[in-house]
């Protein structure tokens, strides 16, 4: 059993996303977390101190900087999950998914057009 406080949470736990989260999911989670812990937000009212709030916000920034950069993320994953075989597989799966998402974002219709062509184009 491991009960973690915010300082001990890994970046995925901190942003409340899975280790296979897509870049879009990371972006969304980052903006929500940032809004939650920004000064003047009432979401944490009376539960955490100003010092804790700044510490969490700091870690959220670091988490986002790492996870939003695919190279940094890969390195982080490798360091994080060194001893966990099953998570290594997930990270590999994410890597391949990520490639798909990037292709998709660069040319939104491109990949679907290709797929449609592959699946439904009349056979020669």
């Amino acid at each position: 059993m491991k009960i973690k406080n915010v300082k001990e949470m890994d970046y995925y736990e901190l942003l409340n996303i899975s280790s296979t989260a897509s870049p879009q999911e990371i972006e969304r989670a980052y903006h929500l977390c940032k809004a939650t812990y920004q000064a003047g937000s009432i979401a944490h009212y009376s539960l955490i101190s100003e010092k804790e709030r700044k510490t969490v916000l700091d870690r959220i920034e670091k988490a986002y900087n790492t996870l939003s950069d695919s190279k940094k993320r890969r390195l982080y994953d490798l360091q994080m999950f060194k001893s966990k075989e099953d998570i290594k597989e997930k990270a590999f799966f994410r890597k391949s998914m990520e490639k798909l998402v990037i292709e998709d974002t660069a040319d939104k219709v491109g990949i679907w057009r290709k797929l449609k062509y592959m699946l439904f184009s009349p056979k020669k």
Partner: protein, 316 residues
Amino acid sequence: MSQTNSEAKIPLLSLHEGRNQTIWAVGGGKGGTGKSFISASLAIQLASLGNDVTLIDADLGGPNLHTFLGMKETNLDLGDFITNKVPSLKDTAILTPFDGLKLIKGTENLLFMANLNYYKKLKLIRHIKTFDAKRVIVDIGTGASYNCVDFFLLSNPGILVVNPEPTSIENAYYFLKSCIIRILKLYTDFYDIQDLVSKISSHIKDNSKSIYSFLNEIISHDRHYAHILYKALKKFRPCLLINKARNERDFLLGQSIVDVVRKYLIVDLKFLGAIPYDERVHFSLRNMTPYLSAYPDSEVSLSFRSIVEKLAYGQN
């Protein structure tokens, strides 16, 4: 809430595992957040979908669910059951103007009911748990007294009602913290772990400690029982409902509260959604007409429909 056979004997926790019954308890600590309005509206909405629903007014110090349902006078109430005038809680259930919906009205003898003793409360909780209705909705009073917390803990799930205001959020956190301490206390009493009981008692007096540091203290003291307590806390999965939301920011606040509660109170809250603010709620009360009947196609009514579907049928 799944429990081991032995843990099922803990008297104040949810024990209807395997029973075809759901109890939703609507609470939240602060007064005026709209708990009774939400209880009444959820009940009307659930009954309108063909369910057999009983609404219990457990706001012992200030019952007024009957007014939300547009009912002026009733004969029997909860007090008749507590004072043994009727043998069973179900004898106090009265018909309402809504098909499939029954009400157990709170009593007007407030001084007596608001200070219900432990054995009377246990009797009431036992009857609620074995109540012969598939769907029971319990409206809980204001504050984090043992009565309020215990009614909240008997539900599956409890619905925490919060307004997008610091006062309401603050009270909701204290309410959740009280629930956590109560669960830990019930478990340590049940397992008769006296040294942990004394640690919990000292924690209740010293509210400055975080749940995290408190649990870690228990882990260092006794790993086996710490594991049992941690599992007990993880079974506690209340839902969050934002009421009187005025904009998208208020809706997003719900997700933010879920995040803060997960990180600082180690509890997994489920965000059900937000009910928009509507001035007509006030008018419908003034006219003694249930809001859902007066404005069935409003945003508020549609929100209730989606929340009931999410809660009762697991639809998103």
